[in-house]
Symmetry: C2
Subunit: 397 residues, 2 copies
Amino acid sequence: MNSQVIRNVRPLGEAAVDLVLEQSVIQAVLPAGTAALDMDCLIDGKGQLLLPALVESHVHFDKTLWATPWRPNTAGPTRNDRISNEQGLLKTFDVPIAERAGPLIEHCIARGSLHFRSHVDVQTVWGLRHIEAMLALREKYRQLIDLQLVAFPQGGMLIQPGTTELMRAALDLGVDIVGGIDPAAIDRDPIRHLETLFELATRYERGLDIHLHDPGDLGRWEIERIADMTQACGLSGRVTISHAYSLGAFPPNDLLALADRLAELGISIMSCAPPHVTVPPVAMLRSRGVNVCSGSDGIRDAWSPMGNGDMLERAMLLALRFGWSKDAELAMAFDIVSSGGARALGIPNYGLEAGCQANLLLIPAENLAEAVVDRSMQRTVISHGRIVAQGGVFTGL
Amino acid sequence: MNSQVIRNVRPLGEAAVDLVLEQSVIQAVLPAGTAALDMDCLIDGKGQLLLPALVESHVHFDKTLWATPWRPNTAGPTRNDRISNEQGLLKTFDVPIAERAGPLIEHCIARGSLHFRSHVDVQTVWGLRHIEAMLALREKYRQLIDLQLVAFPQGGMLIQPGTTELMRAALDLGVDIVGGIDPAAIDRDPIRHLETLFELATRYERGLDIHLHDPGDLGRWEIERIADMTQACGLSGRVTISHAYSLGAFPPNDLLALADRLAELGISIMSCAPPHVTVPPVAMLRSRGVNVCSGSDGIRDAWSPMGNGDMLERAMLLALRFGWSKDAELAMAFDIVSSGGARALGIPNYGLEAGCQANLLLIPAENLAEAVVDRSMQRTVISHGRIVAQGGVFTGL
């Protein structure tokens, strides 16, 4: 690929620039109007906002019912009801994962996300079927997106004999991250659960991403144990705690020492910021240096019919959740669905500087705040220097 | 206007019908395919969902900054900070209300709302300027929408001498509803505030809509007093309490008797269901027969940069706020932004039966639940039997 230029775009709302790309990498950032006139023009941005591609840090692609007819939610009220309801549905669901998750991935790309971490169920009821399907999709979309896969023991690990072996098999197949879930409420033996996860992470040299819905003091105690083991195993910067509802159960000022410890160990907190439960005090955590990322969680699945994978909408929902209305707060919401995600996922060369991969989103907005509030669908998505979606329509394959 | 037919639409998701319109009224609802073939066809719905037009029950059109360049939010943290910040901005803002509120009204129509209740500031700092501008807009859009105006003493009534006289003048000019605000926190004399409002409502034979952010026991006590006065003045069915945050401060079961009283007096509760404050227990209130409606509140104004006037998105935000995921719950969210609003606003002939006004929304969705979750922009909006917006584009004037 020869040099190309993206003309007249405003990185994060700053002064307009021309972006020179070479071999899918940003080679130079020049004042607008100064790139060579004979250079191949990828797009004239006409003063649009230039953003790094969005980061979806927590999704369950393997379980979506996307692109299938509407299905009423039939789950019972508890988390275990939902797990068994979903097992019953997905065991026999006759549309293959590729035909549901594939269209959803393309939809997410069209909304501007190019980096994803998807949890993938590892359960004895279906063995490695979900893992294999998602590995195939990772391959299919390899030229377009980063798709990290997490081996996720949704139904529990210790209480479902055979699951730990399946986790190992998934990691052998090339799954990126070790996943866990509610060491106390679901697996009922928090220390054994966490020790098993950290053993797997250490042996396979992988990061960890642990679903933690366990409430109040219980969840907080588990977060402290996760910190202990992160330190003991030398896994600083490679651990994410997803949901961490328990951190919302305390006045933020009671959590300062814990926040400092999370920051020191590079443990990221992932919050979708749902409005009907307690959620981590995101602004306080960030002010202490804790990395925060966000995600869609389940999209149109047996847990919830909600969601559309739009990470700008997620930034808006984060802002609503905390009553953020200042430009700096809305920019923080944007940072969580972009750079915060990139830090949690360990994405190299993320950003808008020379040397970064040209994974970009152009959108008509004055600044980050307006992009989050307005969520215009007039988006142009560029993956590795190539336009892969415009106006909400995926054109990448 | 001769008879026209809307072919092949599914009212609220039920079996497909042909809708025969005459003089902008639904004249007959026939099984799909049975309307006379030579009848003028307004639109072939192709099996889309047919909904009554959405109802925006609480908005502040007069203060929006819509259609003007992005403006960072500069308000201080308290409600009084926000009031004085807004006064300072709007006193000298150089884009006329018609050029901000007009485009916003057209945007809301394009999203499917045709019935509105807008609060309009009555403040001594600008007298009746906002009222006059909104009366002119009501006139401009009279053929397309119901636009109820509320004389709203945003800065207080008793504490701002001259405001009560302005309220009377606004009602003399033809404003529809008497508005009030925080009788305790802002006007600092709850009984005098409420007595003044009910006196105005009685003398002018108008309904009432009272902003009530006053918290906890204080707000609850005020709601009881509003009930007393509604009963004493014979204003059953004509009073709305907006926000009513205090009702979210108690376990729903402690509010059953109060809910029954609100239901008996036909007092509606309006909630935008913001996620960062306590909100009324909507499902419990409805289960006791209390009418609940919803609105956007401020859209892109000095209070908050958020909002787009999309009442289907509002239904989705309501559902998220309460963790609703069942079809019946999502249908309830839809009912709140449609029939609930129509009941609160007292809109005659609202609905999809013969005899109702043909104010309609067509949207591609399987049922109410999917319409709320998906919020497709492929909407066709019909006002009084005429297409006024398609695909998000207003074409009504």
